[in-house]
């Protein structure tokens, strides 16, 4: 019996040591492939790229906050259902507005880029445009982002209407606007402008020719604005 046990152990030992080579090779291959893929993906995070300088300026669409005389314009392609856009709008944008827009350093443009995977985003974009018709775009923009947890669900129209009402939008005109879907083409045009510029996800920011396709904190935002302002100021005398 003892002999049989020893034999069984020996067989198991042989199997484990001898037949494991393909397994170790597979582990090695997977490790190398996995690490290489992750390294490649993190290097893509440099995600900052530059558009061709020939690309024409963004036409006067979307919604703009700030002075026409501001030297530079920063553009955000955003989606109202996108959680990251919501984080930017609620955490960083208040600082951007107070320190950069209101001080006349930049103009900030929001372009609609409703993502195809977001089921409830279109009504939100329409609601923002309908509020914008009554001069309340930015109020509605903020309310929509601050209340994503309330309206990102089936049949969001009612919650969006409540938000519109809470920011002082006249409901008769708002309801008529929403039922007509009159801004659908405008939102679509913004999306197409984004596609033309290679916008893949949201938020994507354009600081002049520089593209940052992800959320940025205030310091990064400010650093990009500063370098853009420097360029703009350097270029200004040449134009004269």
């Amino acid at each position: 019996m003892e002999a049989k046990k020893t034999k069984t152990k020996a067989v198991a030992k042989a199997a484990k040591s001898g037949n494991n080579r393909p397994f170790y090779v597979a582990v090695g291959v997977l490790l190398v492939a996995g690490i290489a893929t992750l390294s490649y993906m993190s290097s893509q995070n440099k995600s900052i790229s530059y558009t061709d300088s020939i690309v024409t300026p963004i036409p006067n669409t979307g919604h703009v906050m700030g002075s026409d005389s501001a030297l530079v314009e920063v553009v955000e392609f955003g989606d109202f259902e996108c959680g990251v856009c919501g984080s930017f709008a609620t955490l960083t944008e208040p600082d951007v507005r107070a320190r950069l827009v209101m001080t006349g350093q930049i103009r900030f443009r929001f372009m609609d880029n409703p993502l195809s995977g977001h089921r409830y985003t279109w009504p939100a974009h329409m609601a923002a445009w309908c509020a914008g018709e009554q001069g309340k775009f930015w109020e509605m923009h903020d309310a929509i982002f601050q209340n994503q947890d309330r309206w990102v669900r089936p049949r969001p129209e009612k919650v969006l209407a409540n938000l519109a009402q809470s920011v002082g939008v006249g409901m008769e005109q708002y309801d008529a606007c929403m039922s007509s879907g009159k801004y659908r083409a405008q939102i679509q045009a913004n999306m197409e402008e984004g596609q033309r510029r290679g916008v893949g996800g949201t938020p994507t920011f354009f600081f002049g020719r520089k593209v940052i396709p992800t959320i940025v904190n205030y310091d990064t935002f400010k650093a990009n604005v500063d370098s853009l302002l420097k360029e703009a100021k350097a270029a200004a005398p040449k134009k004269k």
């Binding site: 397994f23 582990v27 997977l30 996995g34 993906m41 893509q44 995600s47 977001h118 669900r153």
Partner: protein, 142 residues
Amino acid sequence: MLTALVALIGLFVAAYLALYKAGYIGVLACGTGGCETVQLSKWSTLFGISVATWGVGYYALVFGLAFAATTERFGAVKQIPLVLAVLTGWGVAFSAWLTYLELFVIHAICRYCVVSAVIAVLLFVLAFLDWRVSSRSSRTDP
């Protein structure tokens, strides 16, 4: 062996999400935007650590145990298959909870989380089968 390989794949999926959460990967290659909604929701953190990082720890543990079971030194330890079966069973339960949150609370689906959930189920099936084989063989041993 297969358990270790599958756990290693899971480890890389979780590492990808953890790196995103830590800010090393700027944009998730998700396509739908649902990944970011899920990853930035309040449910993506547990006890101050991102769920993806917990996932890295979980898959690393499963991989370590499954790998150890293939070595001469630990191959004969009968408790390893049982521990793996229990651990991966817990992984399935946790994945089910996360999938429920995605579908009914966050209302967004992260495809990497779905891949992770499938891997968790696969790991449980493999670990369970392995445990049954090892417990049978130990019963038949004189």
